[in-house]
Symmetry: C2
Subunit: 338 residues, 2 copies
């Protein structure tokens, strides 16, 4: 497939290269009919302005960047990221934008990648995920002339950048209230990675709401993997201090917890109640179907992409509440056994 | 963040811009010490050659492309793609390459995107997934001077391009043999999307092996979603012609099928045996744990990326068998009830 040039289009259309240039750049100098014929031939030949020429002229890369500072092997665990990426893509696809996805080792590498992307004009804007309480990425992207960015997370973590967030604290409080109202007096939380800002926000809401209801709250940390989710569940089920209800930080850990309970003969929901976070087809596929904090992650991703396009178009930073995850009560929660 | 230029580096290093250029392009003309100092300052300042300058000089985009011609909303269903992308990223990350991920409506749009990417030098090579029996992408990428490509699928579908594949036919035959040996005489297959080449290969192996064993084989098509997987399962469980074993085309449909069986009071594995394809943490999290055709999808993605780097480096096309999925027998398969 040879590279298509303006000369190729001119030859095929039987016009000068100048006429092609006028038509492609939407400038006066050619008739409407000629312009349309030239554009149609250009499309047919698969012509696209070279990235080089566009970059030199200050044009857009038509690419949005997303960096995940995670061990790539753990990415397959969670349906969250694929659904989130799918949502971003649903907005990008209508504009023929691409998503430049890169996995890096840590936040320093992520910061370096943003610098490189900015310098090489590889992307027009970036989506920043998993914000931390102190976050070098937010500091970098808040500089003057930085890449346009949208932070996916609580505005308190976004350092004045545009953010799109879900009210995780309110959702967590709703779950704890629901379990307390059912009569549970000792509740466990299978929590995620400690230095993620949203983990901390959920931790605080969990213990705070439990305390205010006179409920004992116990938190166990994991790496979000089903293996650690199952292990944390087994520890919550065992011994005299066992809990009667568990709230998980994602869907696969809840599913693994359900499996672990079945395995040791603990009945769900008669002996223990389970609540998943990030409702997904998996929660519906489980038996019993998992009670879950439900949130349309695909639509969340699409919302983030729309705000990024606004930002790249010159809009000022703002904070946008996407939604508050709502509790879908299904088969894995019930009053505790007497 | 201002754009870093060669002049900035020269100023900081106290040398001429010519010396910086020699050092950055690894050409003689500066001492080893000066070169190292310049490179260190360039790294510190976050300098990167502009994409524009690199493209004009024929340098690499340091980006690999992956296009998924699917409804973006269905992408969240399957853990396959996230694990596969994670595997690709594990190889890209070590080379500081990015993955340009784009979701398009259909194969025509995918072909157009390849043309645009090629013309604009957006990527150095592409990974082609879900090959069809007649595939316009393969035709395009087999042209002279086309983008380097690796097809993920059977060599019979790759049109002479480099391919990395798993022996799905052998894996399917193994499952059918295993179920036949257990005593099942009527087996169902919950199949995927019809025009995917691998769906056809599995269909043929399924019915062929069943026939040669004197086993009745019934195929139901789905769109890979858990909803359709559950629905197909309910139809397989109902009525006088019900099957006693079901082989699924992915993991979420098998999980949904397990849920559907529980729901209607059909015991697994006593009343019906279930086999999943694409073993995943979900299969282990289910109860009973799902018998599955196990295949390390993350390592498959990494293998594909390595072959693409070889191809981009000038290696000739070849076909590489990644592995044959192996049957992991767990809790959802047993002899049929008498």
């Amino acid at each position: 497939m040879a590279r298509i040039t303006i000369a190729d289009i001119a030859r095929r259309a039987g016009v000068s290269t100048g006429a092609v240039s006028y038509a492609l750049n939407d400038r006066p100098g050619v008739s409407k009919e000629t312009r349309e014929r030239i554009l149609s031939i250009a499309a047919e030949l698969g012509w696209a302005p070279s990235q080089a020429a566009r970059s030199l002229s200050g044009a857009r890369a038509e690419t949005v960047g997303l960096i995940l500072a995670r061990d790539p092997h753990t990415l397959g665990y969670e349906s969250f990221y694929m659904q989130f990426v799918a949502g971003i893509e649903s907005e990008l696809a209508t504009r023929s934008y691409g998503l430049l996805l890169q996995v890096v080792e840590d936040l320093d590498a992520e910061v370096q990648a943003y610098r490189r992307w900015r310098a090489a004009r590889r992307v027009d804007g970036v989506v920043v995920v998993d914000p931390r309480a102190v976050d070098p990425r937010v500091e970098l992207l808040a500089e003057r002339d930085a890449l346009p960015a949208v932070v996916v997370g609580d505005p308190s973590l976004a350092g004045g950048l545009t953010s799109v967030w879900t009210d995780d604290a309110a959702a967590m409080r709703e779950s704890v209230r629901y379990l307390a109202d059912l009569g549970h007096t000792r509740i466990g939380r299978v929590s995620g990675v400690e230095d993620f800002g949203h983990t901390h926000i959920r931790d605080v809401a969990f213990t705070d709401e439990a305390t205010s209801r006179g409920v004992q709250a116990v938190v166990r940390r994991t790496d979000f993997s089903p293996e650690r989710g199952a292990e944390a569940t087994r520890r919550f089920l065992d011994g005299p201090d066992a809990v009667t209800a568990i709230v998980y930080d994602n869907d696969v850990m809840a599913l693994a917890g359900l499996g672990a309970a079945h395995e040791v003969g603990v009945r769900v929901p008669q002996d223990v109640s389970l609540v998943a976070w990030d409702d997904s087809p998996l929660c519906l596929a489980a038996f019993p179907q998992l009670t879950a904090l439900s949130h349309d992650v695909t639509s969340y991703g699409a919302h983030v992409a729309r705000r990024l396009f606004e930002r790249m178009g010159g809009a000022r930073p703002g904070s946008y509440l996407d939604s508050t995850p709502t509790l879908k009560v299904r088969g894995t929660t019930a009053p505790p056994a007497r």
